[in-house]
Each structure stands twice: as structure tokens, then as C-alpha cells.
């Protein structure tokens, strides 16, 4: 079970959270101008890297807020968690217990 640090509530077990897939996928700037292929990219295509991955989690059994996490998809180490209005940190920030802020 992962130990995930909610930016508001601190470290809690994975089972308190809900997974939301890839982070930083912006809604298209000019939706009316997108062709079918571009819509498909926006709706269905996501990155699937082996290694650090920026993804969304929701603290559903806690504060019920969404936040982002940088997690390694091979070691499962949670490298950093951060608020939605913060930029993706560098992968080297490592403290799953949440000392980074």
C-alpha cells in the first residue's frame, strides 16, 4: 500500500485516495478548431511512462481535494506531492513521508 502525502492533511494510506490518471492535461485552448484526431488525443490518449509520472489523486476519505503527485511507475515511490496550482517539481524531491513542505 502506498503512503501518500496529501498537501493539506499529510501522509495517509493509499486506500483513502482515489486515482485520477495523468496530471497537467489542459483543456484545449480553441476547442471549436480541433479535428477528430485532436479530440481523440485530448479524450483518450495519455502518457504511460516507465519512471516518474505526474498524476492526479483525490483525498476522497479526507479533505476531498484533488492534488498532483509525482510517482515512479516502476518503484512506486511517491517522489513528491503538490497542489494543482503548483508546477511539476523535479523528480529528485524525495520524501514520501511528506517533509518536502
Amino acid at each position: 500500500m502506498l503512503l501518500i502525502n496529501c498537501p493539506w492533511c499529510g501522509p495517509h494510506n493509499e486506500s483513502e485516495y482515489h486515482y485520477g490518471g495523468q496530471a497537467h492535461v489542459p483543456y484545449p485552448d480553441n476547442p471549436a478548431e480541433l479535428d477528430d484526431r485532436q479530440w481523440a488525443e485530448y479524450v483518450f490518449y495519455r502518457d504511460n511512462p516507465k519512471g516518474p509520472f505526474a498524476e492526479r489523486w483525490m483525498h476522497s476519505h479526507g479533505c476531498r481535494r484533488w492534488f498532483n503527485a509525482l510517482r515512479d511507475t516502476v518503484s512506486y515511490e511517491v517522489l513528491a506531492t503538490y497542489r494543482l496550482d503548483e508546477p511539476r517539481p523535479e523528480p529528485r524531491v524525495t520524501d514520501p513521508a511528506g517533509e518536502q513542505r
Binding site: 482515489h18 484526431r37 490518449y45 504511460n48 511512462p49
Partner: protein, 409 residues
């Protein structure tokens, strides 16, 4: 119906396959020697006379998801496109032991999919009716009939999620997965296919927008056509050829108990409380549950998934309360947005992909191989895999099987 004592596993043939050095060039290179890669090679040779084929496997033959799955075979999917391909697979399974001259213990002991909520009941009845319209054997059973099929199931109304009924497909069942792989490998080898283990594809050789070979740890291998059958790693691999796939890789785990007397006569799956259980030929209980919610390549799963799956199993089968878990393991499955597979040409010429089978591709092995071989050999889709092309994510013609896929993802 009570469980019959199982026959001892059959003896294997003396000789299974050669271990040749890779040649510098092949008509077709298949990446991944799981069930799908091996079946593709077998049908390329058998149906299309294409025998200048290499199957490249980074580990050992069929050591990926083929060796990790819970071996459930059924064809009770909701939509016409899925019913067609999975039912075709089931018909192939029914003839395959004889065709391959290899007893892989294909056992049509039936599969029960339980319903625990009113919505489950409605979905189950709808699916059973849809199945029958598609010529797939399916019945709706009430709780008493469920208990007749599987007497050790607790169908009392006093459990937390009582059994309100279930769909039953009598022709469904299980098969010994390793034996299936070895059976296909032996026949493909006999027809001249080179099966090359310890050979990892690390990149692609391209001539403009055309693939002309692969780079491997054993050197460059030229290829007229390349077919990817790399299951959980399909997107990582395709990306190296410049193709983006709409799949996400998730860990899926399973476990087995120690051996028990035969007590469990069929296969039971529950989508709602989320466990599926069968008893293997030797006597171990084989159990699976849902995928871990997050993306992962670690080939291990979360403990809380096992915990929930055990709780569900013990409530449904009180008789298992004191069974011991012997071994747990994980595999990496590639999941698509509509929970249906992709068997398709790609934007790169001569590069084909078979992926996105998620948690349920073992049952499809023969049909996946047959249709993928057809697509690679002719450059055209087979009628059965035409709806499963990559372009459905652009046209919107999705085949939403999240319900009938039966594993939460």
C-alpha cells in the same frame, strides 16, 4: 453437481522447440512470445504459409502474463463485436487440443458471474439475452439455481452483498496456460518458426515512415513486417517506433492456495464484491481481483487489494476460511479506454499491433492469433478484428465492455 476428482496432468511430448540463433532477416518478426505472439506465429504458418518468422522474447517463452493469468475462458461479452471474437476463440479452444495434439486440460466446467445488486441483476439478464441472440450459450440463474451449480457458494440472504442470481455460461471454463503456450510453440517451431528467448527489442529500424527491422540486445534483425504482441509493455515499445497508443499499464495480481480436495466444480466471478475463484486441476484455489488503480510496471500489486478479495472470497465461500495463501504475484496489463482490445495496423507502414487486452486476453488467445496473423499477412483486417482497429478512438465507434470485462479497471 459435485466436483469430480481431477485427472493427473498429462505427460509432455519429448521435444518442444529448438533454441536457434536469430538470423539477420525474416519476413515477419513478432515481438513477445506470450500466448498471443505464439498463436500469431502458429496461424501465420498454418493459415498463410508464412514460415520465415521469428518470435522475439525478452525473457523466457510465455513467462509474461501468459504464465500469470487465472486461465478463465468465456465468451459472454455484451456487444456483438466482442461476442463474435470471443465466441470464435471459444470454438477454436474446443478443437485446439486435438489440432495441436497436446492435452492442455481445457475444462469446460462453466463460468458463473454473480449479481449482488438490482443493477447487477438487470445487467446480467440483459447480457444473457444479448449472448443468446449472438449464439453464445448463456443462462440467467436465480440464487437456488446458482447453489445447484456451485453448492459451496453461500447464497443466504444474510450476507453483506447477498447473491441475487447470476449468469452462467456452461461452455466456459479454464485451461492450463503454460501447456497452451508450449503446445502452440511446438507446432510453430515444427513449421519452421524461430522462437528466440532472451532477445529484447530495444528500438526499430525505419526507412522513412516504414519499419524495416528491429534493434535488439542480440543485434539488428531486418523484417518485412513487424507485429507487436507485448501486452503490458505495448505502449513503451510502440513509442519507440513513433506510435502513441491509447493504453495505460496497470498491475493486476492473483494468488493460489495450497492444494485441497476437489470442492469447487465451476468458475465463480463476482464483479461487485470483486473476486474470482476456480480450483485448478491439482487442487489449488486460484483467485484474482481487480487491478491496482494506478499505472505501474512493478509486477507486484497492493496488499489492500488482496485483503478485500480475501474478505469477499470468505463471505462467498465460508468453506475457504482456513485455506492458506501459498503464493501471490502480479502481471502488468494494458487497459484501453473502452476495455476492448486493439488489433490493428498503425500509422507506421508494416508495423502492426495487438494490445489492450487488459485483464482478459488469455481467453482470446487463439482468435487474437488468428486475426492478428491475418492482418499481418494480408495488410487487411479480418472481419472479426475490423471493429477493434486503432481508428475507433478517432471515429468514436468504441466497444464499451467495462461491464462484461468483469474486472474492475
Amino acid at each position: 453437481m459435485t466436483a469430480q476428482p481431477q485427472p493427473a496432468p498429462p505427460e509432455h511430448p519429448d521435444f518442444l522447440w529448438r533454441n536457434p540463433e536469430p538470423r539477420s532477416s525474416y519476413d515477419v518478426v513478432i515481438v513477445g512470445a506470450g500466448g498471443h505472439g505464439l498463436a500469431t506465429a502458429y496461424y501465420l504458418a498454418k493459415e498463410h504459409g508464412i514460415t520465415d518468422v521469428a518470435v522475439l522474447e525478452k525473457g523466457w517463452l510465455a513467462g509474461g502474463n501468459m504464465a500469470r493469468n487465472t486461465t478463465i475462458i468465456r465468451s459472454n461479452y455484451l456487444w456483438d463485436e466482442s461476442a463474435a471474437i470471443y465466441e470464435h476463440a471459444l470454438k477454436l479452444w474446443e478443437g485446439l487440443p486435438e489440432e495441436l495434439d497436446y492435452d492442455f486440460l481445457f475444462s469446460q466446467r462453466g463460468v458463473l458471474n454473480l449479481a449482488h445488486t438490482l443493477q447487477d441483476v438487470r445487467e446480467g439478464m440483459r447480457r444473457a439475452n444479448a449472448n443468446r441472440l449472438n449464439g453464445v450459450d448463456a443462462e440467467w440463474l436465480d440464487p437456488d439455481q446458482v447453489a445447484e451449480v456451485c453448492p459451496i457458494l453461500n447464497v443466504s440472504p444474510h450476507t453483506r452483498y447477498p447473491v441475487l442470481g447470476g449468469t452462467f455460461q456452461p461452455r466456459a471454463g479454464i485451461a492450463k496456460h503454460d501447456h497452451v503456450a508450449w503446445a502452440l510453440a511446438r507446432r510453430a517451431d515444427e513449421m519452421g518458426v524461430d522462437l528466440i528467448q532472451g532477445c529484447e527489442v530495444t528500438g526499430f529500424v525505419k526507412d522513412g515512415e516504414k519499419v524495416v527491422g528491429v534493434e535488439t540486445n542480440l543485434g539488428r534483425i531486418n523484417a518485412g513486417r513487424v507485429g507487436l504482441a507485448a501486452a503490458g509493455h505495448s505502449s513503451v515499445l510502440a513509442e519507440r517506433a513513433g506510435v502513441r497508443l491509447p493504453v495505460q499499464s496497470h498491475p493486476l495480481q492473483a494468488l493460489v492456495s495450497e492444494l485441497h480436495e476437489p470442492v469447487h466444480p465451476t468458475v465463480v466471478m463476482s464483479n461487485h464484491v470483486h473476486v474470482y475463484v476456480s480450483q485448478a486441476h491439482k487442487g489449488e484455489l486460484v483467485m484474482g481481483a481487480g487491478v491496482d488503480s494506478y499505472n505501474g510496471y512493478g509486477q507486484r500489486g497492493s496488499f489492500h487489494v488482496i485483503e478485500e478479495q480475501m474478505a469477499a472470497a470468505v463471505e462467498l465461500f465460508p468453506i475457504f476460511a482456513r485455506a492458506h495463501v501459498l503464493r501471490t504475484w502480479g502481471g502488468i496489463v494494458d487497459v484501453t479506454p473502452d476495455a476492448s482490445p486493439i488489433i490493428s495496423a498503425t500509422p507506421v507502414e508494416n508495423l502492426f499491433v495487438n494490445c489492450g487486452w487488459g485483464t482478459g486476453g488469455f481467453k482470446a488467445t487463439p482468435a487474437a492469433g488468428l486475426t492478428f496473423a491475418h492482418t499481418i499477412a494480408t495488410g487487411e483486417a479480418h472481419a472479426l478484428n475490423a471493429p477493434f482497429a486503432l481508428d475507433r478512438f478517432t471515429t468514436g465507434a468504441l466497444i464499451d465492455e467495462h461491464g462484461a470485462a468483469a474486472v474492475a479497471h
